[in-house]
């Protein structure tokens, strides 16, 4: 029988401010947080430490002082491994790659149990200083960065184009932020949980026009751990788990922007990776019960919902405005609260998305539980969705 992998345990800290200023007398260090999360996730999974044979860590931010984090954690936790101990890096995909490679260790038979771990600490660093480095990650450092592009400026240009092509208003796109805040109010891991109105969203100061403060991701610290096991090991536990049913990946061969004019807001990587995943799972988009997209800004959720065929082209914002993508709607999207409210500790964010799906599929999402959730999709990305990594998970109860 083909080997398959499953999420059997999870743990995370609430997204928010955890890292201290450099001069503070009492400091918070990443490995103390990560070690506790590993133990909590393993308790949740109900497997023994001796069964773990792989640790895949998202590479931490440069503000994490301890280097070689994965091998340091192997020591901190006294965890000898026959599979792999490694770190992943891929901009927004970073933690999604940690999940993907941990799953690979299971599929390759190198481990029966693997850990995907991510710690993103950055709140000790001011935004303007932080962005000094992030401009280097969004395009060609010599031909784009000198113009002053920022990571989210590309999404803002997606929004401008989308509004122009489809006659959609900023308010319609902004309804995504209001919807996601309602979801976040029900999520104890979320960074911002107080309800907001559309008027409040629209009156925030502009960040990258047409997007204002509540339409772009807040900064935050976060850390999460997933325990992944072979399907066989998961079944032997006799408890609900989230089976990784299918995967799709596509890199369009362009970094941030294609010099060959294309349909930039079609998100071809998400279209393609989604199609590959749907085909591998033998399902269509309508079969899904919920979706956690990598969507730093409101507009990105709209565009990726269209690329994954959850809404018609040009209809993603309208679907959100009508409540179709709210909890209780036709296709709940970002039940965690999404990046604008659940938060976006970048190098850990994708693990929070997988935790949301695992909680939903294991039937323990509390007040935000999607009734009888059986199939769920996570999409992750880098650049302006130049690459997409899509996973479809299935509830086994």
């Amino acid at each position: 029988m083909m080997r398959r992998a499953a999420i059997i345990g999870t743990a995370a800290i609430p997204v928010g401010r955890h890292q201290c200023k450099a001069g503070d007398p009492i400091q918070v260090v990443e490995h103390e947080i990560a070690a506790r999360l590993v133990i909590q996730a393993m308790q949740d999974a109900g497997v023994d430490k001796s069964e773990v044979n792989a640790i895949v860590c998202a590479h931490p931010r440069p503000y994490t002082k301890q280097k070689y984090f994965s091998t340091f954690m192997a020591h901190y936790l006294r965890l000898p491994c026959k599979g792999i101990v490694m770190e992943t890096m891929g901009n927004g995909l970073t933690a999604a790659l940690a999940f993907d490679k941990a799953v690979d260790e299971i599929l390759l038979g190198r481990a029966e149990v693997a850990l995907a771990l991510a710690v993103n600490m950055e709140m000790s660093v001011e935004s303007a200083v932080h962005m000094r480095d992030s401009v280097r990650a969004t395009g060609d450092v010599d031909f784009h960065a000198p113009a002053g592009f920022t990571p989210i400026s590309w999404y803002a240009m997606d929004a401008m184009r989308y509004m122009h092509e489809h006659g959609v208003t900023r308010a319609q796109i902004a309804s995504v932020a209001v919807k996601n805040r309602r979801h976040a109010a029900l999520n104890p891991l979320a960074q911002y949980r107080s309800p907001i109105t559309l008027e409040q969203v629209l009156e925030q100061r502009p960040i990258v026009e047409p997007l204002g403060l509540y339409e772009v991701p807040p900064r935050g610290d976060g850390a999460a751990c997933l325990v992944i096991a072979s399907e066989q090991r998961a079944r032997a536990l006799g408890r609900p788990f989230a089976l990784v049913r299918a995967r799709g990946f596509f890199h369009e061969g362009a970094h941030q922007i294609s010099e060959i004019p294309n349909d930039m807001i079609g998100f071809v990587a998400a279209q393609t990776a989604g199609r590959i995943a749907y085909e591998a799972a033998g399902i269509g988009p309508d079969d899904l019960d919920l979706v956690e997209p990598y969507a730093p800004c409101t507009i990105v959720e709209v565009l990726v919902s269209e690329a994954l065929q959850l809404a018609p082209r040009g209809g993603g914002a309208l679907a959100a405005q009508r409540g179709e993508t709210s909890l209780g709607g036709r296709m709940p999207i970002a039940t965690s609260g999404g990046f604008t409210s659940r938060g976006h500790p970048s190098y850990a964010t994708p693990l929070y998305s997988f935790i949301e799906l695992a909680d939903q599929l294991r039937g323990r999402a509390g007040a935000r539980q999607v009734a009888d959730a059986r199939l769920a999709l996570a999409s992750n990305e880098l650049g302006n969705y130049n690459a997409a990594l899509v996973h479809i998970l299935e509830a086994v109860r």
């Binding site: 935004s127 303007a128 200083v129 962005m131 000094r132 992030s134 401009v135 395009g139 060609d140 450092v141 010599d142 031909f143 784009h144 960065a145 000198p146 113009a147 002053g148 592009f149 920022t150 400026s153 803002a156 240009m157 997606d158 929004a159 401008m160 184009r161 122009h164 092509e165 100061r205 502009p206 960040i207 990258v208 026009e209 047409p210 941030q256 922007i257 294609s258 010099e259 060959i260 004019p261 294309n262 930039m264």
Partner: protein, 144 residues
Amino acid sequence: MTAGGRLERIAVERERSYPPRVTAFTQPFWQALSEGRLQTTRCRACGRLSFPPKPICPHCWTEDVEWTPVAGRGRLYSWTRIHAGPEMFAHELPYEVGIVDLDAGLRVAVRLVLKPGQACAPDRAVRLVVLQFLDGPLLAAVLQ
């Protein structure tokens, strides 16, 4: 302006906030730009243009490339005004950037220079200009 014609040069009395590196290969690009000429590489084998210029053809993987002039007329695909930016651009905030589809079939992402209060929208006709800083040039666009 025809291909090989000059781009308008606009003097800026300060240095670039985040200057590009110049390599032995890209030096002719920056030199031409400082003279108001936009040029990039074309593959002699498949005829396709690259941007940014490259010493190889990304399409057919030959090294048989040549410099070719590019006309600076095109259409604005999209744009934004940035209000929160990196430390080195703080003194310029807010500023505009845009994506331009050139008539030559290339898409470029550049600084957009608007007149005070000038309205802007995708699909507006634009032309490229050179911002001539004290330490060197940068490519930019203005509305037609």
